[in-house]
């Protein structure tokens, strides 16, 4: 069960993931990111506050866009992950490649810093 809500704050696109990402619905996540990337964005934020679980297929979706983001100069961050989901990113080592921050304000602040 996964619901994705899209919001836009100034130049920041936010994808709000609600539910769980697994092999059966990772395509939805892929489509949503694809759309945002094609519409042209400079900063993509994933709101993971209500993300209960992510399987390796879901991680694979994020992973497959990393090169895309750096080529197009899109800044990408995930915030609000619960401990369990955060741990999954950490174990795989994705926390080294993706900026994973506690909350939205940190994420937006980190953008202005750079």
């Amino acid at each position: 069960m996964l619901r994705i809500e899209k919001t836009k704050e100034e130049t920041t696109d936010i994808l709000h993931l609600i539910g769980e990402v697994d092999a059966s619905n990772s395509v939805l996540l892929d489509q949503s990111i694809q759309e945002v990337v094609q519409q042209g964005t400079s900063f993509l934020l994933i709101d993971g506050k209500e993300l209960g679980y992510i399987s390796s297929a879901g991680l694979g979706v994020f992973m497959s866009y990393l090169d895309d983001f750096s080529e197009r100069g899109i800044r990408f961050a995930i915030f609000g992950l619960n401990d369990q989901v955060g741990e999954v990113f950490k174990i795989l080592g994705l926390d080294r490649l993706i900026s994973i921050v506690p909350d939205k304000s940190t994420a937006i602040a980190s953008q202005h810093e750079s």
């Binding site: 697994d22 892929d30 390796s56 297929a57 694979g60 992973m63 090169d67 795989l92 490649l97």
Partner: protein, 685 residues
């Protein structure tokens, strides 16, 4: 029942009937001789009656046999038999009349003996005709039998049996008891005569033939009855065989049923086409519902449907149009219609009716007015399968408003049945395809099982046990061992992201890469770098692999470990009596697909003690969830291993799997491949 092969019962009965008839003639002639000459012939009239009854009985047996043999024949054949017997009997009677007319008042013409012989011949033919026709009527009455009709018939047969012996009681007098018996038998006959259910099954032509035959039977029985009466009135001094209740009641029965059948058939003539139509519809319906069983394809079903719809609605022409999305082709899509006319009508209908499109949601049969010089009304029948329109049939008539409610409802039934047939056909094909797919998967499963090692390399200084289970038929988990030299052993575990077939293919690639690199004697971090480089070339962009590798040196009691995004390994330390997950940084394989990966992987060497345990696992174990949605998690595993550390690897492994299943319970789920590998270091020799 009668066995015709072992005993020719029919012939024996016929022979007996003839012999008894001869005896009857002889006895009666002797009696007449006695009567004329006022002599006592010494033969009482009872002998005549007994012989007569016996004669009836054997004629009955003869016809019973005949009808048993022909029980499958159709109505017309059977009725024709009755007619032919009647014509013979009546013919014989008329011939006798003619002979006596020719003889006039000559001596031979008034000879009582000759007259009696002729009388006996006529009697025999009349009896044969009556009994055979009675059998014919029985066959027709009991054509659609139910309990009540069978009962009625049995009552009739029993009363006829009574009538047979009535002569002993009545002594051949025409008195009130005779009339009483006759009335009862006639009432029963008339009650039976309403069972005419065979008539609607005749088609129009057969009905005409039946009318003719019934008419002939009525005429024959009329002639014969007249002759019986005439004989009774004419001759005084004779033996009377035919003023018998049995014969007269049979006449009544034969005549009554014949008359009823004749009239009902006559009045059925105008409506017979309706019944024929209904029968055709029923047969069409059956054809449609059985069409798939006979391995017919979808085109044939649609073909039958088009014909059925046309015949049900008396359409002048019709066509069937397939949804362009459908794969099938129809050879014969137009009936009594050429392409230009069809196009013209189609465009006319489109003007009239805007919902005329394959993507329209209409599933209703619609009657449409057409403004064409020849064709005035059309019926549009969409064929809907799974909410999408498979095809549409258009029936055309030259009259206005040519489709009534009944036609539309029967056509609707046909259309639904055809759709069900087509749908079943598709489902069946799908099921077959699925079956084949399942077979293929089973083979894949067997092949994949073979990719995991059966025997794990290990020295006496550690024990090892491994287990792997897949969520689907095939999965993406992998483990292996390799002995580098006398003191160096490599243990590895890997997990492809995702599950199922795609994961299984990547797992096979992983095994190839690992088995090649393992030969090179690389240190763990170097091994991961090379593996990342190799797998980056063959993994899909959104797939990655996690892996853990241990190089165990049994001489120095150390192991060197590197982790590439894999679930940390649980290490039970015997001297501390506690377990911990080995935390070491490391990125999964295939995530960074360039040489910078070397910054993301590290190795570290650890000392181990005898009694220490290493539990390698994949995320499927930790992510097993119970009905509350809680995961099995790190802590449960850690506590379990600490509590059960003294067990041997296979037992401990089983313990972990059991407690995972217990945790997950019946309603929970392990929706991923899960694997476990336990290493236990033992005391050095």
């Amino acid at each position: 029942m009668i066995k015709t092969t072992s005993l020719p019962l029919g012939r024996i009965s016929l022979l007996m009937a003839i012999l008894i008839w001869l005896a009857l003639v002889l006895v009666d002639l002797v009696r007449i001789f006695g009567m004329i000459n006022n002599l006592d012939s010494g033969i009482s009239e009872e002998v005549t009656w007994i012989l007569e009854i016996l004669f009836f009985f054997f004629v009955y047996l003869v016809y019973r046999h005949v009808f048993w043999k022909n029980r499958q024949a159709d109505f017309l054949t059977l009725i024709w038999r009755g007619v032919s017997t009647g014509l013979f009997a009546a013919g014989a009677g008329l011939l006798t009349e003619l002979i006596y007319f020719a003889l006039g008042e000559s001596k031979i013409g008034t000879d009582p003996f000759l007259k009696n012989i002729f009388y006996h011949i006529n009697f025999a033919w009349t009896s044969a005709f009556l009994i055979s026709t009675a059998f014919l009527w029985k066959h027709l009455i009991l054509y659609q039998k139910n309990k009540a009709v069978v009962k009625q018939w049995q009552v009739f047969e029993l009363s006829m049996l009574g009538a047979l012996f009535f002569v002993f009681f009545n002594h051949n007098n025409f008195d009130y008891s005779f009339l009483f018996g006759l009335v009862i038998l006639l009432v029963v006959s008339i009650l039976l005569a309403v069972n005419l259910k065979w008539i609607p099954y005749l088609n129009f032509k057969e009905k005409w033939k039946t009318l003719l035959f019934l008419f002939l039977i009525l005429v024959c029985s009329g002639i014969l009855f007249y002759r019986v009466l005439a004989y009774g009135n004419e001759v005084k001094l004779q033996i009377n065989l035919t003023d018998n209740l049995f014969i007269i009641a049979l006449f009544g029965f034969v005549f009554a049923y014949g008359l009823f059948s004749f009239l009902v058939t006559l009045f059925n003539l105008p409506t017979s086409s309706v019944f024929e139509q209904k029968l055709t519809e029923a047969i069409n319906f059956q054809k449609l519902s059985q069409s798939i069983k006979h391995e017919e394809n979808e085109e044939q079903v649609l073909d039958i449907l088009l014909d059925s719809c046309m015949s049900a609605s008396y359409s002048d022409c019709a066509w069937i149009e397939l949804n362009p999305k459908e794969q099938i082709q129809l050879k014969n899509s137009h009936r009594f219609l050429d392409q230009p006319t069809q196009k013209a009508i189609a465009s006319l209908i489109f003007q009239e009716n805007k919902s005329w499109a394959f993507n329209a949601s209409t599933e209703q049969i619609q009657s449409i007015r057409v403004n064409h010089p020849v064709y005035k009304s059309a019926l549009h029948i969409p064929l809907v399968i799974n909410k999408s329109i498979l095809a549409r049939i258009v029936l055309i008539k030259e009259v206005k408003e040519g489709f009534n409610k009944e036609m539309m409802s029967i056509i609707g039934t046909f259309a639904r049945q055809a759709c069900i047939s087509v749908e079943n056909h598709r489902l069946l094909n799908q099921a077959i395809a699925n079956e084949r797919y399942q077979e293929e998967l089973k083979i894949a499963q067997r092949v994949q099982k073979a990719l995991l090692p059966i025997k794990l390399d290990h020295p006496d200084s550690f024990q090892i046990s491994a287990y792997s289970n897949t969520a689907d038929e095939v999965g993406g988990d992998y483990y292996d061992t390799y002995q580098v030299d006398a003191n160096h052993f490599v243990v590895i575990m890997g997990d492809v992201s995702g599950k199922g077939t795609s994961a299984a293919f990547h797992m096979a690639q992983m095994k190839g890469v690992f088995q090649s690199l393992i030969q090179l004697g690389l240190k763990p971090a170097e091994f991961m770098k090379k593996a990342n480089a190799a797998l980056s070339k063959c993994l899909e962009r959104n797939h990655f692999i996690t892996a853990s590798i241990f190089e165990i040196d049994t001489a120095s009691h150390t192991f060197c470990h590197a982790r590439a995004g894999h679930i940390p390994t649980l290490w039970y330390k015997a001297n501390e009596k506690s377990a911990e997950f080995i935390s070491i940084e490391g990125l999964g394989l295939g995530i960074v697909r360039n040489p910078s990966y070397q910054n993301h992987v590290h190795e570290k060497t650890y000392d181990y003690q005898a009694g220490d345990l290493l539990v390698l696992l994949t995320d499927g174990i930790l992510e097993g969830r119970n009905e509350k949605g809680e995961q099995f998690g790190y802590d449960r595993l850690k506590n379990l291993v600490e509590a059960k550390h003294q067990l041997s690897p296979p037992t401990l492994q089983q313990e972990i799997i059991d407690s995972l299943h217990q945790f997950v319970g019946g309603d929970g789920m392990i929706d991923d491949d899960y694997s476990l590998l336990v290493v236990k270091f033992t005391q050095p020799d």
